[in-house]
């Protein structure tokens, strides 16, 4: 399978075809880095664009991400052997008091699909856990909140990062249904993303 066909298979969410295509491409001598950078990553970017344009629905994005993961699993040993660079370390969690995790999980999938190392902190995450991840090398933390009653936990976490003396070491991105760009700015976050695809774009900007 050539690069263009692999790209199309990821966009269409054809899991088996992507796995077989990646194996075939490697067997044909196409470098793993080329498969990743010219087929899988741009395909997921296109899926993200289609989602943001409201042409794709969430389950379509997920099946494409699954297809990409199927290809990545095959590529990873080769990429590790070639010392391919990871995109950076990101820690993500739903803030203290909030138990919603679907949106957070979508963001994690998309970030991992783009090559980031992501630490999933789960739900109901207290500020101390975020602080620990920053001390352990996370370059960006992502916080999710689904309720107006739990949004203040985001500001509390940012204040805790400041008090712990680590705020300058990390970028902070927030998201969730009740949030707005203005709210993110008001609480001192570095970025806001309205959905999973935008989160990837914003994270890439913040870590550039």
């Amino acid at each position: 399978m050539d690069i263009k066909s692999l790209y199309d298979a990821v966009v269409e969410g054809e899991v088996k075809a992507v796995a077989e295509g990646v194996r075939q491409a490697l067997a044909d001598g196409i470098p793993a880095e080329k498969i990743l950078s010219e087929a899988l990553v741009p395909a997921m970017s296109e899926v993200g664009r289609l989602f943001e344009a409201q042409e794709f629905f969430v389950p379509e994005m997920l099946i494409s991400a699954k297809a990409m993961q199927a290809g990545l699993v095959i590529l990873k040993p080769q990429l590790a052997k070639n010392n391919a660079q990871a995109g950076g370390k990101i820690a993500i969690g739903t803030v203290k008091g909030d138990l919603h995790d679907i949106g957070k999980n979508l963001v994690i999938m998309m970030l991992e699909g783009t090559g980031y190392q992501v630490v999933d902190l789960g739900v109901d995450v207290p500020p101390e856990k975020f602080i620990k991840e920053v001390r352990d090398g996370a370059q960006l933390i992502g916080m999710s909140a689904m309720l107006t009653t739990t949004m203040p936990s985001m500001e509390a976490t940012i204040n805790a990062l400041k008090e712990a003396g680590v705020r300058d070491q990390v970028k902070v991105m927030v998201g969730g249904a009740p949030l707005t760009e203005n709210y993110a700015s008001a609480i001192g976050a570095d970025g806001y993303a309205q959905d999973a695809s935008a989160a990837v774009r914003r994270a890439t900007e913040l870590l550039a």
């Binding site: 099946i63 138990l99 919603h100 995790d101 309720l147 009653t149």
Partner: protein, 241 residues
């Protein structure tokens, strides 16, 4: 004053289109564009049905008075909020309702989310569809009861709508009902556990209430991609056994 009623034997009717809608997708488009997602929805539907235990608790109370946007109910509790007084004003009675699917489904979703997110999301979509079906069925049951005495019911209103904050509304509803009887509790953020649960109030009165849908009152209606989608409370069919 009415005692609270618990109903456990709900037979919900959910189909694969509803599961796709529960994931925020348009079934007519998905069926043409990604048939594989329809297969996943059907698989989620089959497994999901075995994981839910639909149950509802409700209590109907007489309205003693409506003063300054506050309903005073026959057991001494109060319901306050601009949208309540605006949309439930003709009510002679108010039903407080909590219903849930139990926690087995969400545990399965949580387990699957890392290994197979696509299927996990389909299962969660099934849960959303089943939750709407249950909410619609409970309202339909109360509406049928109301009709037997020539009364009408309002659109259901849930905490979190514009003018009725989540923490305020949840505290009010949970003070009227003992939702622990069906295994539903609130955390410090006024969030219900199990997650696939709904709380709401329904007005009952002799004169018709104004027309409306839940989306009309939702605080996310300016940005929501899925508002006014087909099947929101009332589109589904369900019967009590």
């Amino acid at each position: 004053m009415s005692a609270q009623v618990v109903i456990t034997n709900w037979k919900l009717v959910v189909d694969s289109d509803m599961v796709l809608r529960g994931q925020g997708a348009d079934p007519s488009i998905i069926r043409k564009r990604k048939p594989r997602l329809v297969e996943i929805a059907e698989q989620a539907l089959e497994e999901g049905m075995s994981l839910i235990a639909p149950v509802a608790v409700y209590r109907v109370l007489d309205v003693k008075a409506l003063r300054h946007e506050i309903f005073e109910l026959s057991n001494g509790t109060k319901l306050s909020g601009a949208p309540l007084s605006q949309h439930l004003a003709p009510a002679k009675q108010i039903a407080a309702i909590v219903c849930t699917l139990g926690d087995s489904l969400e545990q399965r979703v949580s387990t699957l989310m890392r290994s197979d997110p696509s299927y996990a999301f389909a299962l969660d979509g099934f849960g959303s569809a089943a939750m709407e079906a249950l909410g619609g069925a409970v309202c339909s049951t109360l509406d049928t009861e109301a009709k037997t005495i020539g009364a009408h019911t309002s659109v259901p209103l849930s905490p979190g709508i514009l003018g009725w904050a989540v923490d305020v509304g949840q505290a009010q509803i949970f003070s009227i009902l003992d939702a622990a009887k069906i295994g539903v509790s609130l955390n410090d953020s006024a969030q219900m556990t199990p997650h696939k649960s709904i709380s709401m109030v329904l007005g009952i009165g002799a004169t018709p209430f104004g027309e409306g849908r839940m989306c009309d009152f939702c605080g996310l209606r300016e940005t929501c991609r899925y508002q006014n989608r087909e099947g929101h409370f009332g589109g589904q069919q369900a019967v009590t056994l």
